[in-house]
């Protein structure tokens, strides 16, 4: 049914490049941490080098995140406002605490590598054991954050957090591969193992994406709009998913995750401005 002239029924979320970059780097940091945690827990030959590389990459990426959020909020103390309460019913509040925890654990994991004294009372395995579920939570929450909204594209399907989780783990693994290549700290065997892990996560991402797209149905229309289509199809799917499945391309896998975040956030803004989509979305009781 036609609504009130052409006025949108919702306000667009004013989330720009800094939030998109945060969802991407935060998710990738969580993915890299998970790889590091899994390698530390196994701790066989070659795992130490992978774990060191992964925790280093996770730390570098996660420490950029608060800066990105502060640049969105405008003033540093505004980040702290989120930490004055513990309110897990708000995904954003839960995420702020998870970011704090993941940052602390990433730094701790790197520090235990450098200092034998620290390693004695904070074994890396303990850091990995606590950090593994936290990293998985973080990778998931970035999708729940968008899903907990009135925007049809974001709220239509619970596959969105699954998609973001898979994408974060794939791009996190790719980030570890990139760090390994840059520092030459992981041997050939190790790099091939990382490549396998990246491919497994990317395959899962492809399945999650297909599931999400089929579930959002007509609410996915903004993904085909002019400002999103190429980034989504060529960037997120072509470079981020298809290419890394067939050739060794961690850079594209990592970059594709950014294209996916961009596509979903920008298409979500368009979705909020689509009056008929929203009135259709709320037509029937859940």
């Amino acid at each position: 049914m036609k609504g009130y002239y052409d006025e949108p029924a919702l306000k667009p979320p004013d989330w720009g490049w800094n939030v998109i970059a945060y969802l991407w780097l935060g998710g990738s940091a969580a993915g890299a941490f998970v790889v590091g945690a899994l390698a530390s827990l196994r701790n066989k030959r070659g795992d130490g080098a992978i774990a060191r590389c992964a925790f280093g990459a996770a730390t570098a990426a996660v420490l950029v995140c608060p800066a990105l959020l502060v640049s969105h909020l405008g003033r540093p103390e505004r980040f702290h406002h989120m930490l004055r309460v513990f309110k897990p019913s708000s995904p954003m509040n839960a995420g702020a605490w998870a970011l704090l925890g993941l940052s602390a654990l990433s730094v701790a994991a790197v520090a235990t590598d450098r200092s034998t004294m620290l390693r004695k009372w904070l074994p890396r395995k303990d850091v990995a054991l606590v950090g593994l579920p936290l990293g998985l939570f973080f990778a998931t929450y970035t999708g729940v954050l968008l899903g907990h909204s009135s925007v049809p594209l974001w709220a239509a399907s619970p596959m969105l957090p699954a998609l973001f989780a898979c994408s974060s783990l794939a791009s996190g693994t790719a980030l570890v591969s990139l760090a390994a290549a840059a520092t030459r700290s992981v041997d050939d065997v190790g790099r091939r193992r990382l490549r396998r892990a990246e491919r497994a996560a990317t395959a899962a991402e492809a399945i999650a994406l297909a599931g999400w797209l089929s579930q959002v149905g007509r609410f996915g229309k903004p993904l085909t709009s002019a400002s999103v289509r190429d980034v989504f199809q060529i960037g997120a799917i072509g470079c981020g998913i298809v290419l890394p499945m067939f050739v060794r391309a961690p850079f594209f896998c990592f970059g594709g995750a950014l294209a996916l975040r961009y596509s979903v956030v920008v298409a979500g803004k368009l979705s909020s401005q689509d009056q008929s989509a929203y009135l259709e979305f709320t037509k029937e009781p859940r």
Partner: protein, 262 residues
């Protein structure tokens, strides 16, 4: 006199609205909200368009062809719904958005960090983050306060006070509900068969609205969602689906790391 601890709200009876916009003006005057400029929308007599950080009441002008070849006017003064279970309040990561002692929804400006999550959560497009001088980058979210400052002094909200036809009524929520039902019956008896109440608590995902409306047509005509959704409701399934995928893929990564490819 308004008592704290009682649920209060608005009942906006659109059948009485004459589109004078006194509520919009009174709201701006009392709350010291700046004008939004002179923009010509080209749609009916509505140059306000919708809510914004500085527009908390919005009078809608709906022109419909009637059976005699003329035009019937529908007016409605839209406002924040002060939902019983408010999505903005649930989303707010700083707990800046609270329920007051009058059971209304209020944004505490000194706590709000301008994240904009309430904007995405609101099912009615009410909230907006204001980015304006002198602090362009650091805006905060704004919406109707239900004149919290006036309530505290025992006065009714400015829009209800000024409304010349009593289309906007303020008061005890239970009484407003009763009044709304009586008024609806009256209109039905007079042949306004499409008249309906909007925001009743029965079967409402948000637990009902503290801003009730009596509409003369389907809610969609007023840009109101027929069945507004609570983002909170879907959250458990979102977390579970996401975490299930995350743990499964972590398992796959663990296996892939285990194998020693030649």
């Amino acid at each position: 006199m308004t008592q704290s601890g009682k649920s209060v709200g608005f009942f906006t009876d659109s059948s009485l609205c004459i589109g004078c916009k006194a509520c919009e003006v009174a709201c701006k005057q009392w709350n010291q909200l700046p004008a939004d400029g002179y923009e010509f929308t080209g749609m009916s007599y509505d140059n306000t368009g919708g809510f914004s950080a500085t527009t908390w009441r919005h009078v809608q002008f709906i022109e419909q062809p009637d059976s005699r070849g003329g035009v019937r006017w529908l007016f409605n003064s839209d406002v924040c719904k002060h939902c019983a279970d408010a999505p903005c309040e649930n989303a707010c990561p700083t707990a800046a958005i609270i329920r007051t002692e009058f059971d209304t929804v209020y944004v505490r400006q000194d706590v709000c960090n301008g994240c904009g999550y309430c904007v995405a959560a609101c099912p009615f497009g009410v909230l907006e983050v204001q980015h304006a001088p002198p602090d362009d980058a650091a805006g905060t979210a704004h919406k109707c306060t239900l004149c919290y400052d006036r309530l505290a002094d025992g006065m009714e909200p400015a829009c209800a006070k000024v409304c010349p036809t009593d289309s906007i009524q303020f008061g005890d929520l239970d009484e407003l509900h009763e009044h709304a039902k009586r008024r609806l019956e009256q209109l039905h008896e007079r042949g306004e068969t499409r008249a309906q109440l909007y925001g009743e608590p029965e079967g409402h995902e948000l637990g009902g609205l503290h801003s009730l409306f009596l509409l003369l047509d389907e809610p969609e005509r007023y840009n109101l969602p027929r069945h507004p959704r609570s983002p909170k409701r879907a959250m458990p399934s979102f977390y579970l689906t996401g975490l299930a995928a995350a743990f499964a893929v972590a398992g796959a990564i663990g296996l892939a790391l285990r194998s020693n490819p030649s």
